[in-house]
């Protein structure tokens, strides 16, 4: 039995502290903050989508400050080059001779904010793929490992789509969650304008000590992977993901009419990892059906490709997922028929 350095209770307390600290600067948007933290501790990346002025950049910056981690920001533009993100070799003069020296790009940080990523060219967007997936960068044949934890927060603007380069499905699939940032309520808006226009403004205080933050976060991520999952939960996740796939055998299912492509296995992984984090936050060491239900939407809404009929009907991905998954949710009450396997591996994904 492997040793767990971070206890579930400690994790839950730290999570609550981070949530509370972020709420001092980010007014409202509690669900966005929860999903952001869940994706961070699940070891994934997040795509924030919302109109300008909702505090996406502030959220990412405050998030990094609360964790005591390094933060870098990239403003994506159409003329942004991959070298601008990854780094480039520079010719430097050292010791009387010229040599190439690799200058690290902004990707070499713990938390990277790629603002308006849909404005960057596909070539630049693909430069992030290796960094996001493997946490390493290869430049001129040399591979550089990125610091852990490495967390990418990408933002995109749903309006002003002219002159943009929509992210391809392959790159979208690498984000664990796609979180929609909506407008604040009236009360929240009042509080925003009151606090942000005052002479004194709230500042984020780091919850984790800067020296030990990285180590603690790595251990916390390890704890998340140790959370127990029953076979009923696994089968439920499989049913959910399978329900989003159009029938390939020529049969007819509701997804066939509304979707061109369904969720990939990464979608199932995203659901389970996010549910594990939420289970720990709820004070449990096992995943429940309620945890699954909370993360299905942000985990799958960017992994399905809508059909022409769905676009003509002006349906969103969340609406389609709600329509396809409601019958599956009704089956979660019955326990599985097949007996569980005798030998189980403790770590899941």
């Amino acid at each position: 039995m492997t040793q767990v350095m971070v206890t579930p209770e400690e994790f839950r307390k730290t999570f609550d502290a981070l949530r509370k600290e972020l709420s001092r600067v980010i007014i409202g948007q509690t669900e966005v903050v929860d999903y952001l933290l869940a994706a961070f501790f699940a070891g994934g990346h997040v795509l924030l989508e919302g109109v300008p002025g909702l505090g996406k950049t502030l959220l990412a910056k405050s998030f990094a400050q609360s964790l005591g981690l390094g933060f870098k920001r990239i403003q994506c533009t159409p003329d942004l080059m991959p070298a601008d993100i990854l780094g480039t070799n520079l010719v430097v003069d050292r010791e009387g001779r010229k040599m190439f020296e690799f200058a690290k790009g902004p990707v070499f940080t713990n938390i990277l904010l790629a603002d308006e990523i849909n404005r960057a060219t596909p070539k630049t967007q693909s430069a992030l793929l290796e960094a996001m997936a493997e946490h390493q960068v290869t430049v001129s044949g040399t591979t550089f490992r990125l610091d852990e934890p490495f967390f990418v927060i990408a933002t995109q603007n749903p309006i002003e789509m002219e002159g943009t380069f929509p992210l391809p499905e392959a790159q979208l699939d690498r984000f664990l969650f796609k979180i929609f940032v909506g407008y604040p309520s009236s009360g929240e808006l009042s509080r925003i304008i009151r606090e942000t226009t005052a002479s004194e403004r709230a500042h984020i205080r780091p919850v984790l000590p800067e020296a030990a933050a990285q180590e603690w976060i790595v251990k916390a991520r390890h704890l998340v992977r140790e959370v127990l999952v029953s076979s009923a939960i696994e089968e439920h996740i499989v049913r959910l993901v399978t329900a989003t796939r159009p029938a390939e055998d020529g049969g007819d299912n509701p997804a066939k009419r509304l979707l061109r492509y369904g969720a990939s296995p990464r979608g199932a992984q995203a659901i389970l990892m996010g549910a594990k984090v939420l289970a720990l936050v709820s004070g449990r060491v096992n995943v429940s059906f309620e945890d699954i239900e909370r993360v299905v939407s942000p985990a799958l809404n960017h992994r399905v490709v809508l059909s022409f009929e769905a676009e003509a009907e002006k349906k969103t991905a969340n609406e389609i997922l709600e329509e396809l998954l409601s019958p599956v949710r009704a089956l979660q009450q019955e326990p599985p028929v097949s007996p569980p396997p005798k030998s189980r591996v403790s770590s899941a994904a």
Binding site: M1, T2, Q3, V4, P8, E226, V227, L228, V229, S230, S231, A232, I233, S282, R284, V285, N286, V287, S288, F289, E290, Q333, P335, P339, P340, K342, S343, R344, S346
Partner: protein
């Protein structure tokens, strides 16, 4: 507090499984027993209705089988396994998959890192006492009990019905042989004594059947016809019954007069009989008692019934003295029925009056003796009249029968052809069409072969000719020649020159062209 182990969790789940299965079995047994009782009650109830065995036994048995099958399916479905019990407990206690996960990982070879923490968490929240198990008695048990109680308390067929629906009792058919033999002897004596005995063609049997009611009628009619001497003797001041008897008698117009005369004659005969002997006195006494009973009970329906029967009996006496014809046989049957009912009515009367004589118990043959005593008194003149009347009736009937037979024969004839109705001579025979002239065409018009008056070659009817019509446009040939009109037109020739300048223009034309500039 000892840390919970996998064994304790397993034992906890096992205990819950046992409790649950026991509850399922108990409930199934209770419902099975109740359904068996219900089926038995159904069989018992259906037998009371004299249904065939297929329904009496088959229906309850099939119902029992359906209930038992449903119970077995329900019990099978709710027969919890270890895992199902864990899921049910987990859901019932709100453990959010803690118990299910613990049960699964308890069977794994290598315990996960967080398994101990899971067990600790379970120990704080898992108590199977709060978990529900199926109730032994529930709403389905109540439904079966209600059905059983309903079948038990339902009134059976053997119970006595309320008086409002009581049907009249059938007349008793008991015949004391002693009384009948005595009456027969009395009748024989009466017939031997009276010179105006009835014909021996069997009329006595009919008359015998008209014993008491006819006697009753006679006694009742006596007041109407003779000023009720018998009534005074027998104490029957009953104008109402007599009037009632007269009304049904008057309804039969054909035999009404004869009835009255016959009744009068029968009354005279009865007088003679009464004066001759006392052989009919017991009957007369019985009749008087019956009439008294009528007056005493005041049963108007019985009185009317008895009066009608008596009236019918009197009609039979007047109409049939001895011969039995077809119609008379029918009337005799009616009379028998009337006599029987009359005797029953008289029996009712006697019962109502509380008095009964030996004569009142006569029916059929027994009653015939009493009737024979009265039938002796009918005269031969009445018999002849009756014969004549009967013969007349027979003729009428035969005539009607002939008419009916003719109608039947006419209806059996073949239906006439359509369009001809019943009289084939309404329409004459169809005239054949004239043969057409000309070519073989179905319908040949006269215009087809008629010659045209105008010669119109290649037009209209008729045959085409090769002549070209003279009325058509004709082309006139002409020679080709040059036109006299100049190609160039002269402008001057088109302008009108005033008269005073014509001389000048002429001079200008005459000048040569060179000098014109």
């Amino acid at each position: 507090m000892a840390e919970p182990t996998a064994v304790s969790i397993q034992s906890t789940i096992g205990q819950f499984v046992k409790r649950y299965r026991a509850a399922v079995l108990a409930r199934s047994l209770v419902l099975a027993v109740l359904s068996s009782v219900l089926a038995a009650l159904l069989i018992w109830r259906l037998r009371l209705f004299n249904f065939p065995p297929a329904i009496t036994i088959g229906l309850p048995l099939s119902l029992w089988l359906v209930i038992v099958s449903a119970l077995a399916a329900w019990a099978y479905r709710h027969w919890l396994s270890q895992r199902m019990a864990a899921a049910r407990l987990d859901k019932a206690l709100g453990l959010q998959q803690r118990l299910v996960t613990a049960e699964e990982f308890a069977q794994s070879e290598k315990a996960p890192a967080l398994y101990s923490m899971l067990m600790e968490d379970l120990a704080r929240q898992c108590t199977t006492e709060n978990a529900r198990v199926p109730k032994k008695i529930d709403h389905s048990t109540g439904v079966l009990l209600a059905a059983i109680l309903l079948l038990l308390l339902w009134p059976s067929l053997n119970q006595v019905l309320p008086p409002s629906v009581r049907l009249p009792e059938p007349p008793k058919k008991e015949k004391p042989p002693d009384a009948s033999s005595q009456e027969q002897k009395q009748n024989e004596q009466q017939s031997a004594d009276s010179p105006q005995s009835q014909p021996s063609s069997g009329g006595q049997s009919n008359n015998n059947q008209q014993s008491q009611p006819s006697g009753g009628n006679a006694s009742a009619k006596q007041p109407s016809s003779q000023g009720s001497p018998q009534s005074s003797s027998t104490g029957q001041p009953n104008p109402k019954p007599s009037g009632a008897q007269q009304s049904p008698q008057s309804a039969n117009a054909s035999s009404g007069g004869q009835q009255k005369s016959d009744s009068g004659q029968s009354g005279q005969q009865q007088k003679a009989q009464a004066g001759g002997g006392n052989q009919s006195s017991p009957q007369q006494q019985a009749q008087s008692n019956a009439n008294n009973a009528q007056q005493a009970s005041g049963n108007s329906s019985a009185q009317q019934a008895s009066q009608r029967n008596q009236a019918s009996g009197s009609e039979e006496q007047s109409q049939k003295s001895g011969t039995n014809t077809s119609s008379a046989a029918q009337q005799g049957k009616q009379g028998q029925q009337g006599s029987q009912t009359g005797s029953s009515g008289s029996n009712y009367q006697s019962k109502a009056g509380g008095q009964s004589g030996p004569g009142q118990k006569q029916e059929g043959g027994g009653s015939s003796t009493g009737t024979g005593s009265q039938g002796v008194g009918q005269s031969s003149l009445n018999g002849e009249a009756l014969k004549a009347e009967i013969q007349g009736l027979l003729k009428e009937v035969s005539g009607e029968l002939k008419d009916l037979q003719q109608q039947i024969n006419a209806s059996d004839q073949a239906h006439p052809q359509a369009g001809t109705q019943t009289d084939p001579n309404v329409y004459g025979s169809a005239e054949p069409l004239d043969k057409t002239q000309g070519s073989q065409v179905a319908i040949q018009l006269k215009t087809d072969s008629a010659p045209t008056q105008k010669q119109r070659p290649a037009g209209g009817t008729g045959s085409a000719s090769s002549n070209v019509a003279s009325d058509g446009p004709q082309v006139t040939p002409e020679e080709a020649k040059l036109s006299n009109t100049p190609r160039e037109e002269t402008p001057a020739s088109q302008q009108h020159v005033p008269a005073e300048y014509r001389g000048i223009f002429d001079q200008m034309r005459k000048q040569p062209q060179g000098t014109k500039q």
